[in-house]
């Protein structure tokens, strides 16, 4: 029986080749994109994990004011902590970019070379891969760094700069402006002595815990416990700063240091009270909190889960589209099916027969889609996004059994499940009912439509009759719009970042001090900034608590008086979904404390997650002097020694970073828009087409009655316009709401404002595009209507 029926399948496939070709294309496209994203994500996750493991990625890192002494390092080693010195110098490259210069590593965060060899002489350097690519550098090329010329001997990557962020708090990677370089110890020393560094040398140590019982806190506490004589620090700015902070108390300290006074407990207690609570540890970041480590895997993780879910939804939609065709086929063949039933063919045989074609189409689509996904335009192309942003070595491509299973097995399985559910019901009619060519009444068919005009009533009845196709059309519209809004939200967010960051930055320069002077430099407005943390969706992002007041012209914040009330930036309100009047809790990791504030107002400020607090209250809260500051804002460049500064941010840099966002996301935005547009077009075309097919008998009848082309179009096609228009008016805001709700999960690790609001014109534009597509499809389907002849009715009569 099945053998005979199988012949029909091939004939059916040939008869409707256009329809099944379009459906196959949808399945191919869906599987191709999903499997490509999945494969790319899994390769990046595993590849970067291997890269990290192979090169002994750090468990964390810290920075000290002065280098640790050898006995202190030995103490840590004895504890079971492996330490790698990673001191660096930031040096200007000829283009103006900053190269962070390191000595080559020996045990932790090893440099993995993509090509070339390590630096062996004092005029050789290994440069970080992304910097090389962006600057178009090749091995052997000369680079001028800090006035010295180096020959590039290798292209490398390190796990601690997988996201080559200049500062950990930076929200975007900008390899045009920043990269890392690795030289010999001699070359490093020479650079240090040349005084060409942009800032003082940074004393960074990376660590790995050899003892599994050790925690990051244990390591931190051990370093904090090391005695620290700040006077031995080399940094003159630091020493000057400490002296100023201690001020008059220095005399007493000097007195206490006098050996004639002895070193009893009372003297020690007095010393502790006078001396500021300071230890050598300047910064301590466990790997999990280091935004430079593991960024590539975190970035694609959302792709993996989103594509797994989206793939099932899209495949279910396509399967349902196929099911609609099968139902149409069954309706058209109902009398034949009835005859077969009466001849003893059972329902299972027919069910298998009708599911064969959906299974074949989806299986073929799955095979081709999976093959394409594993071709150069698939997984490896999708990985380009990672390669073009993160600094990771070339990852050897692996084919994962689960992605193969997803691409090859899931499409036919979903098709069989969806179709069996839909078709089973259809085939459960009695032989007699089918023999009479009966169609079950569509739900709602007997709706009383009152005194509505004939045309409107006719159209509504048609939609009710073709409810299945109409719902599929609506779901297709919604799914496509959801995909569009992923792209649109991405664009809107990036564009807001680009425009708002610049518009909200009223200062030209922001100087963050490491060692602030007593006196605020002329032309500068002081503020007090402290970096705290706040968790969102498992990611602990940095938030700046900024002490300021109404005299600061660079912020619009009306800072409330009092220690508990604050204003927060719009960026923070968007990212953390905070409303006015709510309480915001920030973590001070250094002091192991939490601070709770009531949000008095939300201020339009996009560049940073900022909590604005009254500067006097903040000084008091953190035990600082009443004139303390560590940030200065200015409308012009100020003559401040770079050694005193932690960083300088200019408005021009903010502008530059804004462009990076849009540029990075452009390809994803275009791809998503085109793919979703294609899905919508094909689903709409097929469903409107099947509605015409199913109405071909009625259309034929109308032609017999003398209906003209335009009138038939009005009855059978134009009615869909209201459905599509109404569907769009509902689906556009609904899809936007849905994606807005889940979008924060997509970018949970991205530290930037998340303004997803957009101009009403975008909605109007989308509506216009949908209606435009509808009119194109309508025009195409008129030809289908033209092909229906009065003979359809006559065939039935004969």
């Amino acid at each position: 029986m099945q053998k005979v029926l199988r012949k029909r399948v091939l004939r059916n496939l040939r008869r409707h080749k256009g329809r099944y070709l379009a459906l196959s294309l949808l399945v191919i496209l869906g599987v191709f994109i999903v499997v490509s994203l999945l494969g790319a994500a899994q390769n990046v996750i595993d590849g970067t994990a291997l890269f990290a493991q192979k090169n002994n990625v750090e468990d964390g890192e810290w920075e000290t004011f002065i280098p640790l002494r050898s006995e202190q390092l030995q103490e840590l080693t004895d504890m079971g902590v492996e330490v790698q010195e990673q001191f660096y110098l930031d040096v200007a490259e000829r283009s103006g970019a900053t190269i962070r210069l390191f000595k080559d590593r020996e045990s932790i965060n090893l440099v993995q070379l993509d090509d070339g060899r390590k630096a062996e002489t004092e005029d050789e350097i290994v440069l970080e891969k992304r910097f090389m690519e962006v600057h178009g550098l090749q091995i052997g090329d000369p680079v001028v760094i800090g006035g010295r010329t180096f020959a590039v001997t290798g292209i490398g990557t390190t796990a601690d700069y997988e996201s080559p962020l200049k500062k950990m708090a930076d929200s975007t990677i900008d390899s045009a402006q920043f990269g890392t370089g690795f030289v010999t110890p001699g070359a490093y020393q020479a650079m240090k002595e040349s005084g060409q560094a942009l800032e003082s040398e940074k004393y960074i140590y990376a660590y790995r815990k050899k003892d599994s019982t050790l925690t990051d806190d244990d390591v931190r506490k051990a370093i904090e416990a090391f005695p620290f004589n700040w006077e031995k620090a080399e940094d003159p700015y630091f020493k000057a700063y400490m002296k100023r902070r201690i001020g008059d108390a220095q005399m007493i300290l000097d007195l206490l240091d006098n050996p004639l006074l002895g070193d009893d407990d009372e003297a020690q207690k007095l010393r502790e009270q006078i001396e500021p609570d300071i230890h050598n540890l300047q910064m301590f970041v466990p790997r999990g909190d280091n935004m430079r480590v593991g960024g590539a895997a975190a970035d694609v993780e959302i792709n993996k889960y989103a594509s797994l879910v989206a793939g099932v939804i899209v495949l279910a939609l396509f399967s349902y589209v196929i099911a609609v065709f099968t139902i149409h086929e069954i309706d058209a063949e109902s009398s034949v099916i009835g005859a077969l039933y009466s001849l003893g063919v059972n329902r299972r045989d027919l069910l298998r027969h009708y599911m064969l074609l959906p299974a074949i189409v989806t299986a073929l689509g799955g095979i081709i889609g999976t093959l394409l996904a594993h071709s150069p335009i698939g997984v490896s192309y999708q990985m380009m996004d990672t390669y073009l942003y993160f600094s990771v070595p070339a990852i050897p491509l692996k084919v994962y059994p689960y992605t193969l299973l997803y691409g090859l097995v899931l499409p036919p399985v979903i098709a069989v499940i969806v179709n069996s559910v839909v078709i089973r019901k259809k085939l459960s009619c009695t032989a007699l009912f089918l023999l009479r060519g009966g169609r079950k009444e569509a739900s709602g068919k007997r709706l009383n439509l009152g005194k509505m005009g004939f045309i409107s009533r006719f159209r509504i009845r048609r939609i009710l009759r073709e409810l299945r196709a109409a719902i599929t059309m609506a779901v297709g519209l919604y799914v496509s719009l959801a995909l569009v809004f992923i792209a649109v939200d991405c664009y809107v967010m990036c564009r807001h970042v680009e425009v708002d960051n610049l518009a909200d930055t009223h200062y030209e320069y922001m100087y963050m001090y490491k060692y602030p002077d007593k006196k605020v430099p002329e032309g500068g407005i002081p503020a007090f900034a402290k970096t705290l943390n706040k968790e969102r969706f498992g990611y602990n992002l940095e938030v700046t608590l900024l002490g300021t007041n109404t005299e600061n012209p660079y912020f619009d914040a009306v800072v409330p008086k009092g220690r508990k009330d604050v204003a927060i930036s719009s960026a923070m309100a968007q990212k953390y979904d905070i409303k006015e009047g709510e309480t915001v809790v920030l973590e001070d990791r250094e002091a192991e404390q939490y601070h709770a504030f009531r949000v008095d107002s939300i201020v339009q400020y996009s560049p940073n997650f900022t909590v604005f607090m009254d500067i006097d209250e903040m000084r008091e809260m953190f035990g600082e002097d009443e004139d303390y500051y560590n940030v200065v804002f200015s409308d012009r460049q100020l003559p401040i020694d770079s050694g005193k500064l932690l960083s300088t941010v200019s408005r021009a840099q903010i502008e530059q970073a804004g462009h990076v966002f849009v540029d990075l996301m452009a390809s994803m935005i275009y791809t998503m828009t085109i793919v979703s547009g294609f899905i919508f077009f094909v689903v709409l075309y097929l469903m409107m087409g099947v509605m015409v097919d199913r109405a071909s008998y009625d259309i034929s009848l109308m032609k017999i009655f003398g209906y003209r082309r335009g009138e038939i179009r009005k009855l059978y096609l134009n009615g869909n316009m209201y459905f599509v228009a109404l569907g769009s008016l509902i689906a556009i805001p609904l899809a936007k709401k849905t994606i807005d709700a889940i979008y924060p999960y997509f970018i949970s690790n991205v530290a930037c404002a998340m303004d997803l609001s957009m101009s009403p014109l975008v909605y109007v534009g989308l509506f216009a595009v949908i209606m435009g597509m509808y009119f194109v499809i309508n025009a195409l389907l008129v030809r289908k209507i033209d092909r229906v002849t009065p003979a359809e009715v006559l065939k039935n009569r004969e």
Binding site: R439, E441, A442, K445, R446, N448, F454, I455, R457, F458, R461, R462, L464, R465, D698, L701, M702, K703, I704, F705, G706, Y707, R708, R709, P790, A791, V793, L794, N796, R797, E798
Partner: protein, 233 residues
């Protein structure tokens, strides 16, 4: 003559399978006449009716309806011809299943600038109380009455009926025939009825018998038997 057919030729198929279905039929029907077309299966009677209805394009000959030549008309013109002059009644009613009785009638009412009064027509056809029902809720006889109402609403000059009682029992058939007779009298509608039912021959003005694509007999009844008196339906 209201309907004049001259040397009508129609082929089906291609090449070796090409068959001459109508082999030069010539006949005519006067305005207001009821005419029955009979013949064995495959004789070409339905093809003949379809050619008159502009549903089949003849391969030769001429068909004039009310003085208008329809052979050789473009598809659009044929559409207008059907719209302005014709009504169709089918054996299996061919009602649109998801439209109510009233809406099925409106399908054709919509096409006419001067349609008949729908309520009056429904009253005449005995379907006045079922306007809001759907075809599936009706008996075969009721469905055929709705189909007749749909055909008549635009007040056609020529009504083409293809086995109008073919799917009905004798009692219902008789009531449908009485209706057709009433309509013919009331509206003066010319009717061409294809049927296998010999009894109908007695109630019509003209009888055409087609055999193997040719008219084998054409006769006129001097005395008509009212449909109500027909037996052996």
């Amino acid at each position: 003559m209201f309907l004049e057919v001259e040397d009508l030729v129609k082929f089906y198929g291609e090449g070796e399978n090409r068959v001459k279905v109508l082999k030069g039929i010539s006949t005519g029907v006067e305005k207001g006449e009821m005419c029955v077309i009979q013949g064995p299966s495959g004789s070409g009677k339905s093809t003949f009716l379809n050619c008159i209805g502009g549903l089949e394009v003849p391969d030769g000959g001429s068909i004039k309806v009310d003085g208008t030549e329809i052979a050789g008309m473009s598809l659009d013109k044929l559409s207008d011809y059907r719209r302005d002059k014709l009504g169709f009644i089918f054996q299996f009613y061919n009602l649109v299943p998801d439209l109510t009785v009233r809406e099925n009638i409106e399908v054709c009412e919509f096409l006419s600038e001067n349609p008949l009064q729908a309520e009056e027509l429904m009253e005449t056809l005995g379907i006045a109380g079922i306007g809001d029902k759907f075809p599936a809720q009706l008996s075969g006889g009721q469905q055929q009455r709705v189909a007749i109402a749909r055909a008549l609403i635009k007040n056609p000059v020529l009504l083409l009926c293809d086995e109008p009682t073919g799917a009905l029992d004798s009692k219902t058939s008789k009531s449908i025939l009485i209706l057709l007779e009433t309509i013919n009298r009331k509206y003066g509608t010319t009717m061409m009825i294809v049927t296998h039912n010999n009894a109908i021959r007695k109630m019509v003005h003209r009888v055409i018998i087609i055999k193997d694509g040719e008219i084998s007999e054409c006769s006129q009844n001097e005395v008509l038997v009212p449909a109500a008196e027909l037996t052996d339906l």
